[in-house]
Symmetry: C2
Subunit: 404 residues, 2 copies
DNA sequence: CTGAAAGCGCTTACAG
DNA sequence: CTGAAAGCGCTTACAG
């Protein structure tokens, strides 16, 4: 049975149900012939122009076209003129070289993978922007992978990036799950630079914060103001950054010779809902803390939502220190005191580090660099005091002393 | 002159300046032989495993390996067992198929390009996330391109995406510049879906807002509250969305039978600094407006900064309507009245539209669909009244009446 | 300086 | 069911 279509072979075999069946033996040959005819009749603009097409039109070899377009400098004026002609025709035909074929041949890709937990988070959006811009300067493209902090998603994405043969990877590792094992990366020569967080293998270059300092700065500020009951809202302790921020928190208490109230240490996934309910729980305690530190952009949002819901006056009733430096922090009333994280700088450095590794990989004289131990750098954070912190109200202060 | 290195050929010709010179004729042959030897001695884990490598190890043909890994169902138990063996070895060697080679052969890429103005903007970050998630469900990857609303950057990125032979493109077009001409897209069969904004060619599917309604809703709300001197901060009028939002503004005035004060219509690039200085200028006028509408996420930020700098009390002294629905809008005090834009839904629809086009392109029976006119949909916006708007103070109101 | 040829790593009709 | 062969669109040593 046949039905008419507007494309070759114009008559198409269909089965009784009316569905076309290209594999139908009887029409197979006809089908192929028609496809060929169709392709020949089709205007070349409909297909992607190839080197071969250009060379055919000019009656020269594809090699010559390739060389002309790659801009090899020629000496003989005759050759130059010909190259000019080739370029003109290429432009006219809208020739766009097939970078897939080129990559396959040259075994080089100007593409890197960027793996981040969440792009709606101001902090990572900033990182993504800067990585993208820095790499664009060197003519590298970015493939964007969002993990939502799920280790399985991340493992899948690592595999995809390997299959894509990206030149390198910049990633903020997801929290690790012993159940999910990553394919051994040693097997592939793809350079990886870790940003913000470090995975436990410790085999990659990493551009990190001084997280201990970050935790310390926020806590010390509140201690100096006279707070004693300081709650801290942390990410999961399986993430090294969260552990280190806690370490900084403890260190500040130790230096101030004030004992830590373990009940005020809260930890959970980096999601606003978590920070929201954790903060509500903190506020509903009989002895509520006089200050809170929320240790990430997401956690700040949840904490602010909870404070708003309970109608807490900041900083009169409770002080708040945020982490990061989203633009809207300054638009809040009171504006938010925060531990600013130099993510822009870090993103740029991560991109440059990766580019250096990629270059070393293509340069056989740089063996030492390739096999050198991973480079880990840590960036200082900076406390920015705004309006959301002040000394604790007298009442709370006394109550706190009673607790001790 | 020679120097020793740890990689083949172990002795490397170097010139007088100590730089290595691989093209040196004398050592060229030696060099190639050594490379070969090195490659043979190298453990296969250092190279990316190929089908050929697997087939060599098992003494079978690459075809068979390819078929086994692509999971063709086999009937004979003997064949099944062999396939199992092949898969096991592949896993053991950490085989990751080269998707470049596969794409070159099959002429199909599971990669789409996403072009957006700015990823630090909450609005576009949300769009990017949803596009990425929706496409990931269908196993498509996303190449991220940020234009900063620069038409030249956009044109370059379109070219790169063509060269990458992406399966499709979702883009928020940058404002158009007559000086920059895009390569004719008709020449390539890459489907494009436009999101949020529509380029002037009107040849692509587009998923848009009802921008007239959006402008209308915000303005009508303020008019109903009794405001007459309502300033509007718009993006560049070369962007259709900005023109249409303005149209909605005018329409609301017309319906309310109130004349428009043209001096209160401000337009400029979608950047916070612009909105900031525009707003300062508005506030410094002798007859300042009693209300402002900022028609994008970026513009809202700039306007808020200016209001804060002048210490304006919102809504007592001036009312403010924002656009979009960033989470932090609700954390402001007063929380922000806004025209919410259904960007999440739109991003998902754009992704599905693109997927449908891609499928149609691979299905020769769907000619009609391919050549059908572009599909344009517009999504309704929704006014969310919060705390930043209230009727104008009596004084201002009278002053306004005096003006008329 | 140019062209013929090989080959990057796959897939897939074709012949056995 | 399997293997030999062709070919996707490029680049690039090699021989003229």
């Amino acid at each position: 049975m046949l039905c008419a279509v507007e494309r070759p072979p114009f008559l198409l075999p269909i089965d009784k149900a009316g569905r076309s069946d290209y594999t139908c033996k009887r029409y197979h040959f006809l089908w192929r012939v028609c496809i060929k005819l169709w392709e020949m009749s089709t205007s070349p603009a409909d297909q992607n122009t190839t080197l071969k097409e250009i060379s055919r039109r000019l009656g020269i070899s594809p090699s010559t076209v390739s060389r002309a377009l790659s801009g090899q400098d020629l000496k003989r004026p005759q050759a130059r003129q010909r190259a000019e002609e080739i370029r003109r025709l290429a432009a006219e035909l809208g020739y766009a070289p097939n970078s897939i074929a080129r990559s396959l041949k040259t075994n080089q890709r100007r593409l890197i993978g960027l793996i981040i937990p969440d792009i709606m988070n101001d902090y990572y959006a900033t990182a993504a922007t800067l990585v993208q811009e820095t790499l664009a300067e060197e003519d590298y493209r970015v493939m964007l992978c969002v993990t939502n902090d799920d280790p399985r998603t991340e493992a899948m994405q690592m595999r995809v990036l390997r299959e894509e043969r990206v030149a390198g990877i910049i990633r903020v590792p997801a929290p690790q799950d012993p159940a999910v094992k990553m394919a051994p990366l040693r097997a592939s020569p793809i350079p990886v630079v870790e940003l913000v967080r470090r995975s436990s293998s410790h085999q990659f270059d990493a551009v990190l914060l001084d997280d201990v300092q970050a935790g310390f700065q926020g806590t010390a500020h509140l201690l100096e103001l006279g707070h004693r009951e300081i709650a801290i809202v942390l990410g999961p302790l399986s993430v090294e950054t969260a552990r280190q921020r806690l370490e900084g928190y403890r260190l500040a208490f130790e230096r101030a010779q004030v004992p830590v109230n373990e009940a005020l240490i809260c930890s959970g996934p980096y999601r606003r809902e978590v920070a929201y309910s954790v903060t509500l729980a903190l506020l509903d305690r009989p002895h509520r803390p006089t200050a809170i530190i929320a240790t990430s952009n997401e956690l700040v949002i949840g904490t602010l939502q909870a404070l708003a819901e309970r109608g807490m006056r900041v900083p009169e009733e409770i002080s708040l220190v945020g982490f990061g430096n989203a633009d809207w922090f300054t638009l809040l009333r009171p504006s938010l005191t925060t531990v600013a994280l130099p993510i822009r700088q870090m993103a740029v450095v991560a991109a440059h580090t990766l580019l250096a590794r990629i270059r070393a990989l293509h340069d056989p004289t740089a063996v030492e660099q390739i096999e050198a131990a991973p480079v880990v750098s840590r960036y200082a954070t900076q406390l920015i005091v705004r309006q959301s912190t002040q000394p604790p109200a007298h009442g709370s202060s006394i109550r706190t002393d009673e607790c001790l």
